[in-house]
């Protein structure tokens, strides 16, 4: 069916496109030539140009509330197979495909890291991994006496061995070296084990435990902060408003 355009109708379309910046150079020239000869179109152009500017600058009203759907809403029917256009390849596709999944993963990881950090701080404050306090000095004294008794016992054993050896030597030549009292691991023979609490330096095992705890707290703090920043950034990226 043939369409019938009046000449003026065609210029109305050109004028509309001109006001919206959609007119090409040829159309602009044509419209300009017409406006110079047509008072009606000239007046329309004069009236509409500022009007369009005002309309374009009208403020948007903020939505009074969120229109998000409840999470327990029944999912839509799957009768229509999803037929979304194929996503572009490469990094853009990966970024688009995993953005929400990545956000969820980072939220879970941040929560887990924060909980673990709180647990470590709680352990530290409760003193589970700290050395025994100095109030138990009676126990330490008892342990020190016990250690001294052990050493004395070892010394008497050594002396008895020596006496036995001397006796045997008196009976004959028995060439064997008197047994030396076995030194404690890491110490010299005859040394008393010094209780840790009475020493200004912590035992190596306990010092190592504290160091590990401090490092763990430091690493978890940094990890939690990093993940939290990632969640904030990704949330902003996903939920930012469009420009128009």
């Amino acid at each position: 069916m043939a369409r019938f355009f009046t000449k003026h109708t065609a210029y109305e379309v050109l004028l509309t496109e001109h006001l919206d910046g959609k007119l090409d150079a040829a159309g602009e020239a044509d419209l300009q030539a017409h406006v110079e000869t047509c008072e009606r179109c000239a007046r329309d152009l004069r009236d509409m140009a500022p009007l369009v500017a005002v309309l374009r600058s009208e403020p948007m009203v903020e939505a009074p509330r969120s229109f998000a759907l409840p999470l327990d809403i029944a999912h839509p029917s799957q009768a229509h197979a999803p037929d979304v256009q194929a996503a572009p390849g490469g990094l853009l596709r990966w970024a688009g495909a995993s953005s929400l999944a990545m956000l969820r993963s980072m939220q879970v990881a941040t929560a887990a890291a924060a909980l673990l950090l709180v647990a470590l701080v709680g352990l530290d404050l409760s003193g589970v991994m700290a050395p025994e306090p100095l109030e138990n000095i009676s126990q330490l004294s008892a342990s020190a006496e016990g250690a001294a008794a052990d050493d004395a016992g070892m010394l008497r054993t050594s002396e008895a061995d020596d006496a036995e050896v001397e006796g045997r030597e008196g009976q004959g030549d028995v060439a064997f070296a008197p047994p030396n009292p076995q030194p404690e691991a890491g110490g010299q023979p005859g040394d008393m084990a010094i209780p840790m609490a009475l020493s200004s330096e912590p035992a190596p095992g306990q010092a190592e435990g504290r160091s590990v705890l401090e490092w763990a707290k430091l690493v978890l703090s940094a990890l939690t902060a990093f993940l939290a920043m990632g969640v904030v950034g990704l949330t902003w990226q996903i939920y930012r408003r469009p420009l128009s």
Binding site: T16, V52, E58, P59, V61, P64, A68, A81, P82, Q85
Partner: protein, 209 residues
């Protein structure tokens, strides 16, 4: 004319929205709510301009998003914004033609001039200029309310929401020529309504260069 929801055209969808749609089609409400978050302001503004009743606009907007979720499987790509506004426009038309439609109220108490969320940014304007713009804006809103429904819809989509012709054609179900023609008539009608006011008070805004 009720426009079809399944037919889409216009700019292609961006990858993140594409993923949201795909997940929403699999029943992920969280993904669909991300779409809602992005377009709810545009949808609410369209409903408000058309219905001139904030309560009715809220209902229409919420209904549109529910309907969009139920029909997300029919989305075939293209402009997601246009698709959502199409659903909204169809619902708004039904509301406007409903005999139980509520009385319209003035938009002035709900639209604050100089809303920071919109394009109204004149940081260097004097108080007198701001007052002039505020009054001009009020006059434009009142004149817009007097337009026929279809012209008001086109003006709202193209001039207020700044959709392009193709998107407006999709939302309204009209061809491009009819969109431009109604746009011209709507603007002309607005100009006729405002000319006496602007000539009387000499408030005609300065024409852009």
């Amino acid at each position: 004319m009720r426009s079809q929801v399944t037919v889409t055209s216009g700019p292609s969808i961006d990858p993140i929205e594409q993923e949201w749609v795909a997940q929403a089609q699999r029943g992920d409400v969280l993904a669909f709510n991300a779409i809602v978050e992005r377009y709810q302001q545009a949808a609410y503004n369209l409903a408000l301009r058309m219905l001139r009743d904030p309560s009715a606009a809220e209902d229409a907007t919420q209904d549109a998003f529910f309907s969009a979720y139920r029909n997300i499987g029919k989305f075939r790509g293209g402009s997601l914004r246009s698709w959502i506004l199409t659903i909204l426009a169809n619902g708004v038309r039904d509301t406007l033609r409903s005999p139980s439609r509520r009385r319209q109220t003035s938009l002035d108490e709900y639209i604050e001039d100089g809303d920071p969320g919109g394009p109204w940014e004149h940081p260097g304007a004097s108080p007198e200029d701001e007052a002039l713009r505020s009054e001009t804006s009020r006059q434009v809103r009142e004149a817009l309310a007097q337009l026929p429904e279809e012209q008001r819809l086109i003006i709202t989509l193209v001039d207020l929401q700044q959709l392009d012709y193709e998107e407006a054609a999709q939302v309204t179900g009209l061809n491009l020529g009819t969109v431009k023609s109604r746009l011209f008539r709507g603007r002309k009608r607005l100009a006729e309504l405002l000319r006496p006011l602007w000539e009387l008070s000499e408030q005609a805004p300065r024409q852009n260069a």
